[in-house]
Amino acid sequence: MTSNTTNNMSDIIIGIDLGTTHSLVAYADASGPHVIKDESGDARLPSVLRFEDDGRVVVGWHAKTHAVERPRSTVYSVKRLMGRGYDELVASGELAHLPYRVVQRASDTPGRDIAAIEVGDRLLTPPELSAMVLRELKDRASRYFGREVHKAVITVPAYFDDAQRQATRDAGRIAGLEVVRIVNEPTAAALAYGIGLREQLAEASKNTEKTAHRGIAAGGLSLQLAGACSSSEGSSSEQSQDGSDADESLVAVYDLGGGTFDISILRLCAGVFEVLSTHGDTQLGGDDLDREIMGLIYREIQDQFGLNVESPATQQSIRLLAENVKMRLSEEESAAIEIDLGHDRVYRRTISRDEFEKMIEPWVEKTLNSCRQALRDAKVRGSDIHQVVMVGGSTRIPYVRRRVQELFQRVPYTALNPDEVVALGAAVQAAVLAGLEKDALLLDVIPLSLGIETMGGAMGKLILRNTRIPCQATERFSTFVDGQTNVKINVLQGERELARDCRSLGEFELRGLPPMPAGIPKILVTFLIDENGILNVSAVEERSRKEASIQIVPTHGLTREEVRRMELESYAHAREDMTAHRLIDLRNQIAFDTAKAEQMLARVGDELDPAYRSEIEQAMRELRRLGESESDPDVIHKALNDFDRKTIALAEKSIVNALRSDNKE
């Protein structure tokens, strides 16, 4: 074991934000948390995977910008599938929007429902796919530190249930990472926000008092939070009856990401980050806003030209287009679209910001209702909140900011980079666990009530939502039939009254009970929610005080054995890719990318700005030359990424062409 006071070299813990659209990796040192950028200086890694015919997997920008070319083998938004069953995904309509194939994984145990994605001849579960994104980030960090990184803090939406959290932890394991902590995204953001304020205050006091040093302990981050809470009497106002201090602040974190939404209400005080309540929707994010625009385009093309453009390739390209329109509407009052459908059919449309706001209003209203519920559960009013911290790319939308401002009656805090703040918070928590950061303490809550199915199919709640974690509840079980040796318990999560309306986390089976008359065996089952918000179940037979054996079959998750097997498979794959392979792959990639760019230039080159065109041609020549002479994979990788970025505008142009060829048949 290592000392916990020094930054031991063998014990780096990285912080990872595993996002729906982008993922990031960060670390913290004495100067604070930092994101780790790729060779081209970008911190964001698109959570997009592209499967080549030869079995290779490309993760990131390349996979994203070239999605149209391999529509069925380019997988994105995996996070929305994490820990979810195929049947539920069908019922929620989620799958209708995806160009890639999602199927139900065969299982020999009845009652299990696990979704998997079919790419080529491979069938991969969402944790395996997320593991590929995590491995890319792990490798990035390992390159940065010059040695292998094995431990990580990974963030999840606060409203993730147990199955979704377990799936995230499984993904980490499959990627060869020990997941030392799962942290809720809004909580991580609050941590980065709080630490950021501390740094600012430290900076300010350093400037006013030139001789004062920053008080950073060697190798550590310990610095007293300025304005530490003085101990005052419990306030006697109507709302605050629980001994809150005068100097503390109430913060709301509004986190609207690519695929998920969370709201958390926190009390910040002297380094303690105390979550009072949380609410959200794990199927609500920027993706849904894109789909509104996509739906409009589909409908109008259908009406005007009688064309059904919902093929996988057009779905991928219209999705990129819609995302682009959405982002433009945050800057401009309107955005024009033009799609050449071939045979002189051109779909032209200008979407105004006003129109877009009407489209997304129901989604934003849903987030506001979550906010209201979180406020009620925290027993505070919107106007009591001192700061509303905005997190997630979708909070750049002016309409979202406006509505949030109305609800809380204050201008939201948008000074943080909404893409990076969660990863930075994860890195701070990693520093806490490594013993480098001694001030911060996170006290979080369970987002959804936990219970068991009782007689008659009701949900019997054992732990209520917004209970502080860790927490535990115990329940006695017995047998119904003489000589019965097994007892089955269906564990549920959710707020509804009936078991069938809640999510089943799994069936827990108590085994090997001594055969006795009905009702005589008494088994005490303990449901413990740990600091990660993950359920741990143990059981004791009360008479014998003997630990009872529990067999757990996760309804929507993987068993331990399955995870172990996937880890070995993934490791084998990763090793192959490592050395020589990497160089060959990169050279093939150069050949492919340049050929592709050449094709695109031939088709749409005339429509380009001549300077841009010659820049691309020049870059193409240089890249080819580099591929022949260079033997350092990292240099080639960087050049490829740079090239990719240069050709984004070209690729966008080619979307139109892809549509044209797609609709010729």
Partner: protein
């Protein structure tokens, strides 16, 4: 139940007296005492009364959390982790119970060996009729989307809730909780407050903002 001050607890590691029985402020050791051996009040070193200093409770809770939370670095072995999880869950429950006035009163009732409010569902005589009327009012106003009526109904329920809480405080302050009659009065008010809370849950969220 014995007086909380009569039982000085010594740390099993460094043998110093401990302010809280679960974690030693001196050496930081977690103390594996079974939580059933001490009351929630003893856990925080507080007198077992309804009138507690909530600021002090909170400070002690945060101090203890800093020592026993599973995130505290260095707790890497399985047994340390299990111990920290068990203690943290116990601490969280104790804190939530004492912080909330209703739960605190209920807990005092439990310490006085009285049946809990849930065991005995009795309520003040006039309560049910009043609750029924307010519930109908909420349903009608929700149906008709009458924001003014909803707001005024909410204000009425909040007023009732406040009065009930004051009654609970006054019973705990002045009454002898060992007396069956006092216990009975307390249980009625504790049950009443649950009715007010349920009514507040039924009011649409929009009314509050």
């Amino acid at each position: 139940m014995s007086d909380s001050k009569s039982r000085p607890v010594l740390c099993t590691e460094c043998s110093q007296p401990m302010e809280s029985p679960i974690c030693c402020a001196g050496c930081g050791a977690l103390n594996p005492l079974p939580p059933s051996l001490f009351t929630y009040f003893e856990l925080f070193g507080l007198e077992p009364t309804y009138e507690i200093d909530l600021g002090e409770l909170r400070r002690k809770y945060l101090t203890l959390s800093r020592s026993i939370h599973p995130d505290v670095a260095g707790r890497t072995s399985d047994s340390q982790r299990a111990q920290s999880l068990a203690l943290s869950s116990g601490l969280n429950r104790a804190y939530e119970t004492l912080r909330n006035p209703v739960d605190r009163a209920e807990y005092l009732l439990h310490l006085a060996n009285g049946p809990s409010a849930a065991d005995d569902k009795s309520v003040p005589g006039e309560l049910l009729g009043e609750v029924m009327m307010l519930r109908e009012q909420i349903e009608e106003a929700t149906e008709a989307n009458d924001q003014d009526l909803l707001a005024s109904t909410r204000a009425e329920v909040l007023k009732q809730q406040k009065e009930t809480l004051e009654e609970i405080a006054s019973i705990c302050r002045s009454g002898d909780l060992k007396e069956p009659a006092t216990q009975q009065r307390l249980r009625q008010q504790l049950n009443a407050v649950k009715y007010w809370n349920n009514l507040l849950e039924k009011i649409p969220l929009q009314v509050e903002s």
